[in-house]
């Protein structure tokens, strides 16, 4: 314990009374006050005053500490939010990159589709041309066949007509010769005459009928060709 002499004790007491300056801190707790009641009262006052100051300071320090902790927590929360934002941003950037890649792929697909479509269009045009050519060829072949058939028919008809005309002319000539012989030989010509007349009428009729048929066939062939 620290011991002050009477004079020092009185000086400290007077200083407190005149200028309100008192001892502060733990020093007051280690001063011996057993021999002076007034000095003990002064030291008790110093200790109480120091306690009040410390209590106020402690409360304020705690308050500041609490505010610091809140600020620190807020800072941590901000950092956490910033990290989350950064993650979100990274995710968005990644999505953007993926979308860009998908867009590129889609554009490539579109170009491929366009190219394939053009190729298909060309192929369809070629196919259409080939179809038309085939149809033309078919038509030409059919025409040729028709012509061939008609030609064959015409030739057949011609042959028939020739044979028929030959037969008619031959029969006519024979009948005429027989009729003339009968006339020159003064034989009975009644039968042969009526026969020749009938025969000649029939032959002419048939001849004109054949000619009419030929003309009709030719006319019909011309209409089909046109």
């Amino acid at each position: 314990m620290i011991v002050f002499d009477k004079n020092s004790q009185q000086q400290l007491i007077d200083l407190n009374k005149s200028k309100n300056i008192a001892l502060e801190g733990n020093i007051a707790k280690v001063i011996n006050t057993s021999d002076n009641g007034e000095f003990k009262e002064y030291i008790d006052y110093c200790i109480t005053k120091d306690r009040d100051v410390r209590r106020r300071r402690l409360d304020m320090t705690k308050q500041v500490q609490s505010q610091n902790k809140e600020l620190s927590d807020l800072n941590l929360e901000n950092q956490r939010i910033m990290i989350e934002l950064q993650h979100t941003l990274d995710s968005v950037e990644e999505s953007k990159t993926q979308i860009e890649m998908q867009n590129k792929e889609l554009i490539a697909w579109k170009e491929d589709n366009q190219r394939i479509s053009e190729e298909l269009h060309v192929a369809m045009s070629k196919s259409e041309s080939a179809r038309l050519e085939a149809e033309n060829a078919k038509q030409a072949a059919m025409n040729d066949l028709d012509l061939l058939q008609k030609k064959s028919q015409t030739e057949l008809i011609g042959t028939i007509v020739k044979v028929a005309l030959g037969v008619i002319i031959t029969v006519g000539i024979i009948t005429t010769i027989m009729y003339m012989i009968s006339l020159f030989m003064n034989k009975d010509t009644q039968i042969i005459g009526s026969t020749w007349s009938n025969m000649f009428g029939i032959l002419l009729t048939n001849a004109f009928s054949i000619i009419g048929t030929i003309m009709g066939v030719k006319y019909a062939s011309k209409e089909n060709n046109s």
Binding site: G25, N26, K29, V30, D50, R51, R54, R55, R57, L58, T61, K62, V64, Q65, S66, N68
Partner: protein, 144 residues
């Protein structure tokens, strides 16, 4: 009353809180505060080899001391096993992790005081138990 106390904590504001609380509770009249475990280790090394009269009677160490080479538990281990086991020593931290407390016991910590806004009741309780720590008769205790 504890003769002298050393506080090792990186938080300056807590130095003020601890000093005022110790004064108001009459825990000790002599208090020294340090910000780093390196500085504390250096002082204990000095007290081991040179004058040990300044060595504190009780040491309060923060668990995580920012800006130091090692944490509070390592400082306690060094003080107990390298610089002589002459002090009452423990952790004062806002953490209450049993794993850390187990490590602290292994390092030689005698108590664990949890920091909070209302530190005075815990320090008062510690003050009442102090003699048993000094006599090495008290088991490890956590002041919640």
């Amino acid at each position: 009353m504890i003769d002298s106390i050393l506080l090792v904590d990186d938080e300056d504001l807590f130095h003020l809180v601890f000093e005022d609380a110790c004064s108001l509770l009459d825990i000790s009249l002599s208090l020294k505060s340090l910000n780093s475990s390196d500085e504390a280790a250096k002082l204990f090394k000095k007290w081991l080899t040179e004058d040990s009269s300044e060595r504190p009677e009780c040491v309060f160490v923060d668990l995580n001391i920012i800006g130091s080479s090692f944490d509070g538990i390592e400082l306690i281990r060094k003080i107990n096993f390298e610089y002589g086991n002459h002090v009452v020593i423990g952790i004062i931290s806002s953490s209450n992790e049993p794993e850390e407390q187990a490590k602290a016991i292994q390092a030689g910590a005698q108590f664990w005081i949890i920091k909070s806004d209302d530190i005075e009741p815990r320090l008062e309780e510690f003050r009442n138990d102090y003699e048993s720590y000094k006599n090495r008769t008290a088991p490890f205790k956590v002041y919640k």
